[in-house]
């Protein structure tokens, strides 16, 4: 299945708070340090938001909420991405969608 990418979702996320997934250089250190070991955490989940893949974000709702916000990833991120901040923004967006 091919999904069309677009800027709308990233725009919506930025209205809800700071979302800086574009700074990520996809090294994968965050995924390696994540104590939960969920493979889409947190790099890919952020990327779903960046590329505008709404369905993917919804499909991974549980993952987004399972994050412990421990910041192990943030401490190791060489690009200085505000990873837990981005996860919070994604949670906010998911909650808003549910409220609708």
């Amino acid at each position: 299945m091919t999904t069309l990418v677009g800027p709308e979702l990233a725009g919506e996320l930025r209205r809800l708070g700071t979302f800086d997934a574009e700074v990520c250089m996809n090294c994968g250190i965050c995924t390696a340090t994540c104590p939960l070991g969920i493979d889409v955490l947190p790099r890919q989940v952020m990327r779903f938001g960046l590329l505008g893949l709404d369905d993917e974000v919804r499909r991974h709702e549980e993952t987004v909420f399972s994050c412990l916000l421990c910041r192990a990833c943030e401490a190791s991120c060489p690009a200085g991405v505000h990873i837990t901040g981005n996860i919070r923004v994604l949670r906010r967006w998911l909650l808003e969608k549910e409220a609708v």
Partner: protein, 577 residues
């Protein structure tokens, strides 16, 4: 080092030094037996062995022997002459002996290394080779380098940044320069470019500045709409014929610098949608950015989304190399787009980002400013389709777990690389060495990066392979320094081991003229007859003409017929002691 000095009744005083090479030779060759075999040869007054003949200590001992024993010939039996000819010629010179009265016998590659299973055979062969070297040395005569005056001018072919900077450099070193440009104006590719990475320097302005510098220097003579058609002459004195405006002009120069640059890769029709409206090359796109205002408009429609596809025409079967500049140039272009209109969405589809060195900072900056990067697999490039004028790019993005994604861009930029220019005429005229990739080849990429195997011809800039502006300019200056190193002395010293004619024996048959690959031989009038005459500066000492002469009227200095014959004779004597 054991001394075995024997007074000799012969006419010459030759020193022979046999090397152990730390065991490389002596493990398989009986060095003592070699010494014993040659120490009583006629004319041999010194015969010694040494653990490492090339060591400083032994070199000095040899030089001392030359002085104290009054040696007039030197033989070192060691490794390949390729390795140490210059070393021991230097030792001879330091001892006061003419360097061309030295002979190296190769008893390592040709004896100990080749016959590890046969100590007896290896030793015998070594004895024969040393005897032959003594025979050659016995007939050696002092030779002096040929000194030729050089023409203190250079021709630079190609008026891009590399060529212009080389010309300015040469002029500033006090040399005359002819700058030959194929197009109507100087400037090359850079003269056609807007802001360039990494600092946003304007290409037009950079080229103009160099042109101004050139026009301010009367030592630089510029020919535009001009092409090189022929090069003749000898080392340091070449005649280069240039075709300009329908006439042929002869330039007398001492050095030639080639700076003919690259060609931008032109995709095949249909390659990543090339040919469809909205699919452009990086070269087209940079020109568009230069001309377009803000917001960016293509064919009357505003551009809101751009997809870049990297490595087009590079790192594939036909062009296996990386073009080096394109990643950085495309990232820089995207930053210019963002600066003009932050609302434009930009997707970069790449194989590997190679924004090396400081260019990495622009890559980071472009991500901060919202550019999105997607990585595709080598064997699964993105697909560009055009339907009713609307473009669609589909890509399997490895960074999103291999999800199949689609972009609907207003513009697709094919990030095209550098390919060699079609320079068939110039390549033939200058006999330039061309590599497998189609670019011109230097002698050694690290140590001799601008010289070619063709005497007097250097190369610089992107005609050698993909280069950035900074790298092109640096190599242009390197070529200028290399050319000036030859020309500023005013004279050049050439190897005296060249052929010469015994005119009294020559019948003027002309066989040798055709045998010479360097066109160094001609027939000249000598009284009523014609005889062969060899231009020593053009001769490379290959000896190809020598056997072609039915009268044995040609000799090669340092390897005369008499020397070769005496070497063969001593080889036929064999190794018996």
């Amino acid at each position: 080092m054991s001394d075995q000095v024997t007074p000799s009744p012969g006419k010459r005083r030759i020193g022979v030094y046999v090397c152990h090479c730390g065991g490389n030779i002596s493990d398989y060759v009986d060095v003592d037996r070699v010494i014993d075999a040659v120490k009583d040869e006629a004319d041999v007054v010194v015969a010694r062995d040494a653990m490492f003949t090339c060591s400083d200590v032994t070199q000095e001992e040899i030089a001392k022997d030359i002085r104290e024993q009054g040696l007039d010939g030197l033989v070192v039996a060691s490794c390949s002459p390729k390795l140490h000819t210059t070393t021991f010629r230097g030792v001879a010179r330091r001892g006061g002996l003419n360097p061309y009265q030295y002979t190296q016998a190769n008893i390592r590659e040709q004896c100990s290394w080749a016959h590890t299973d046969d100590r007896e055979g290896a030793t015998g062969k070594a004895i024969s080779l040393v005897r032959a070297a003594v025979a050659r040395t016995r007939l050696s005569e002092p030779l002096e380098p040929l000194v030729v005056e050089t023409t203190g001018r250079a021709v630079v072919v190609g008026g891009g940044v590399a060529g212009m900077r080389a010309a300015i450099g040469l002029a500033d070193m006090g040399l005359g320069v002819f700058l030959v440009e194929r197009e109507a104006e100087l400037g090359g590719w850079v003269g056609d470019l807007p802001k360039m990475f990494p600092n946003g320097t304007d290409g037009h302005e950079l080229a103009r500045r160099l042109q101004d510098e050139i026009h301010r220097r009367p030592a630089i003579n510029v020919f535009t709409r001009a092409e090189v058609v022929e090069k003749t002459g000898t080392y340091g004195n070449y005649q280069v014929t240039v075709r300009a405006g329908g006439e042929q002009i002869r330039l007398d120069v001492g050095q030639v610098i080639v700076a003919t640059g690259f060609a931008s890769y032109e995709p095949e029709p249909g390659e990543f949608g090339y040919g469809a409206p909205g699919v452009v090359t990086l070269a087209d796109f940079t020109r568009m950015l230069d001309e377009a205002g803000s917001p960016l408009v293509y064919h009357g429609r505003p551009v809101k989304t751009i997809a870049y596809i990297y490595c087009v025409g590079s790192r594939n079967e036909t062009h296996p190399y990386c073009s080096r500049y394109c990643c950085s140039a495309a990232v820089h272009a995207s930053l210019l787009v963002t600066a003009a209109d932050p609302g434009v969405r930009q997707y970069h589809l790449y194989r590997d980002m190679r924004t090396y060195g400081r260019h990495e900072l622009e890559y980071i900056e472009s991500r901060r400013r919202g550019s999105v990067y997607m990585k595709f697999a080598d064997d699964e490039p993105p697909l560009v389709t055009s339907d009713d004028g609307s473009l669609r790019v589909t890509v399997r993005d490895l960074l999103t777990g291999g999800d199949q994604l689609a972009i609907g861009p207003d513009l697709v930029v094919l990030v095209t690389g550098m390919v060699p220019r079609d320079n068939a005429e110039l390549t033939t005229a200058l006999k330039l060495p061309v590599g497998l990739d189609g670019f011109f080849n230097e002698i050694h990429p690290k140590l001799r990066p601008v010289e070619t195997v063709v005497d007097g011809v250097s190369i610089c800039g992107a005609c050698q392979g993909p280069k950035t502006v900074a790298e092109s300019v640096a190599s242009g200056l390197a070529a200028a320094a290399q050319a000036a190193a030859v020309l500023k002395r005013g004279v050049a010293e050439l190897d005296p081991q060249v052929t010469f004619v015994h005119p009294e024996a020559c019948t003027g048959c002309g066989q040798c003229v055709g045998a010479c690959p360097y066109s160094a031989i001609s027939l000249v009038e000598r009284g009523p007859a014609k005889v062969a005459s060899i231009d020593a500066a053009a001769c490379k000492g290959c000896g190809g003409c020598v056997p072609s002469c039915p009268e044995d009227a040609i000799d090669l200095a340092g390897y005369t017929d008499a020397q070769i014959r005496s070497m063969i004779d001593s080889l036929l004597v064999g190794s018996e002691t």
